[in-house]
Symmetry: C2
Subunit: 129 residues, 2 copies
DNA sequence: GCTTGATCCTGTAGTGGCTACAGGATTTAT
DNA sequence: ATAAATCCTGTAGCCACTACAGGATCAAGC
């Protein structure tokens, strides 16, 4: 059993974030030492690492918790998992498309905006009626 | 001079958002009618539309305000504008790259996760030590 | 035993950029 | 006269943390 700082080091999840996850009920309350300090087991650290991986993959905290629950609950239902993952992939793809649209629009907008023009063409276009 | 609802309609910025912009000092305080209701000029609506365009292009509210200030302040300094825009484009490109990395990682993770496997391979990989 | 510094605790507030009320006043249309 | 729309101020909620304040405890060195 290790203290919260060590759990943070081993899992990659920040100390304050670990306490936040506990407050929010994302992870169960850990054991406590006689001095009231939190004590984490290897399984606790595993949960935190799992959550970290999900968050790094862009899953919302809610989805990450859902995946964690699926992972803990005996029958790891592949269908539910892949539904969540597919939904997330769709939203990632939508975001990519949106950003590419933005990139193109910004490119157009700044195209004539290099020389020290007195009346900046980009501002002009942003002002357009 | 029009009321806030009409200004919202003409600019595409929501009523609550307009009041928020005012509170935050993004736009100047508008005129007031005798009954204390806000009154917007065509120029006010132009500012709101300008901000809306910037936000739609993904600029932060701070950057949007900076662009608005540049646009208002006589000498529309093209260099400053294009520096802001280029910085933003860079961050958009970084976000795209990051999301594409995510998309690939998600694709790999879910690759074997279609059949009704008892031990979902995606969860297994998320659990990996 | 004493000091120093690291670590831990609880609780609260701030971030960005809105959005959604509550609770009331006024205006406009019927 | 009444109903519905619009407006006002002020506050709280959203996401997922992050950053304190103010204190308690612990470990290491002297």
């Amino acid at each position: 059993m290790i203290a919260i700082g060590e759990a943070a080091r081993q899992s990659g999840v920040g100390i304050e974030t670990i306490r936040y996850y506990e407050r929010e009920g994302i992870v169960p309350r850990p054991a406590r030492a006689a001095n009231n300090r939190r004590l984490y087991s290897a399984q606790d650290v595993g949960r935190l690492r799992f959550l970290k991986r999900c968050r790094d993959l862009g899953f919302s905290l809610g989805d990450a918790k859902a995946l964690l629950d699926l992972s803990e609950g005996g029958a790891a239902d592949c269908a539910e998992v892949s539904a969540l993952a597919k939904g997330h992939m769709d939203s990632v793809r939508r975001k990519i498309a949106e950003l590419q649209r933005l990139e193109a629009a910004l490119g157009e907008l700044t195209a004539n905006c290099a020389e020290g023009s007195v009346d900046c063409p980009m501002l002009g276009r942003l002002r357009m009626a």
